[in-house]
Symmetry: C2
Subunit: 241 residues, 2 copies
DNA sequence: CAGTCTCTCGAACGTTGGTCGAGAGTGCGA
DNA sequence: TCGCACTCTCGACCAACGTTCGAGAGACTG
């Protein structure tokens, strides 16, 4: 069953189920279906859809279509659409390599890769407004906190450092993905310039310019790391060997 | 017309329009309708709905119901539902007072109030994934950058400081609003503890504990401000008088 | 009193996320 | 070989959603 043509449309339309067209046997898929519908395939396809058209582009029907399957079928593998979103978010975190080395370099590396991945999938930052407890996310968080702990942070200092870094990355990615499209940026700048009287500083300094966001982020990150390393009270100062 | 009872249901159901019930005149609203439908009322009601039930709770139909109006009516005042969301986001920023004083204190104050407002409306952080160009948002941003500029920051340093602070606030609010409900936090911690082998550091340090988020945020903010004030290259060091 | 402009709404459309129960296909034990 | 149970798929259907259209009511203007 479920013979599909190249465009992914189900063959036969609403034709009779079994024993339909004579000789239909020969048209059937070979033996073991190598296109078995799995959770992994669902999630991967969802990520494709999200990358292509954003959150609005992910529809259970579109998703089913791409997988050459009827929409209700998805609900056997997945409980709700939110499940798909949660799984998609965790899936892209697998792209973030877990580094090694001295804590400050390792943290920098992780955070930069983290940000790069989110920007590669601009639909993801707002979705972090939902609890993310997937294995990939947790593994990276574990590493981050581990690195900071190995640097000597403890207690509230450790918590502040971990959350602070994570929040900084997430906020940056959210903001930058907002201004993803050049057109949006352009109209926004025009909007600002037309109100130069109200926002003299923003206009004078060309806020929302098409600037080097990467450099901006790294600068901010270094500020934060410096503040961290400087420590307050019991904070650590230097890198371990 | 449009007499409403206390529960906001339209009176008369589907009764005849004009010249319906005899004596209905006396039941009509006094003279000039003091419940005129305005954009402001729409937005204020939308914020109420969002506060009560989150983004999922805001429906054009529910909104119209609360305003004792038929759904299509809203579309005369507003182009799409997204308009309502954008306006709602800008509306809550009016709650953030614009401070004064030495730059570091003023910035701290603004940022803290900003965060507090977003947490009071936990639906708002993910919505910053959409361009926010309302007057209230821009006014606060203008102030933030103005304060930093008056502190001596210029060029890329200024941009990094402005965006860095904004991103830090947004990220913090997004993360914290994610774990808004104690139940979600509880199950998440249980989930973590059940996997102590995989996430030893997170479990040992009770990541996602029901901690003092405010203190955590202030600590992180101070780290950042310290890194900022310390400056890199041409960065400033001290507060102006 | 006609005309215009502002504002409201009933009816309806297309699409969405999701449910239900009927099956097809497969593997397994008797 | 049969029958049963389990896995997986789907057609039909549902309520709810955002939004459009055109018909008006009501209030001002000339």
């Amino acid at each position: 069953m479920r013979a599909v043509d190249a465009k992914g449309n189900r063959a036969g339309g609403r034709g009779g189920r079994s024993g339909g067209v004579p000789g239909e046997v020969w048209l059937r898929e070979p033996r073991a279906r190598r296109d078995a519908l799995t959770l992994d395939r669902i999630v991967a396809t969802a990520v494709d859809l999200l990358d292509a058209d954003g959150v609005a582009g992910l529809t259970m029907r579109r998703l089913a279509d791409r997988l050459a399957v009827a929409p209700p079928t998805l609900y056997w593998h997945v409980k709700t659409k939110d499940d798909v979103l949660d799984l998609a978010v965790d899936a892209i975190f697998a792209e973030v390599p877990v580094p090694s080395g001295p804590w400050r370099d390792a943290v920098r590396e992780l955070v930069l890769a983290w940000r790069a991945t989110m920007l590669r999938h601009p639909w993801s930052p707002p979705l972090l407004g939902r609890p993310a407890l997937g294995p990939n996310v947790l593994e990276r968080t574990e590493f981050l906190q581990g690195a900071l702990a190995s640097a000597g942070f403890t207690g509230a200092h450790l918590a502040a450092a971990t959350h602070g870094l994570a929040n900084f990355v997430i906020g940056s990615a959210l903001t930058q993905s907002t201004w993803h499209s050049p057109e949006a940026l352009g109209t926004a700048r025009a909007h600002l310039r037309a109100r130069a009287d109200d926002y003299p500083t923003l206009v004078a300094n060309d806020h929302l310019a098409d600037q080097d966001w990467d450099a901006l982020f790294e600068r901010g990150l270094d500020h934060f790391l410096t503040g961290l390393a400087q420590g307050i009270g019991s904070g650590p100062v230097s890198s371990p060997p």
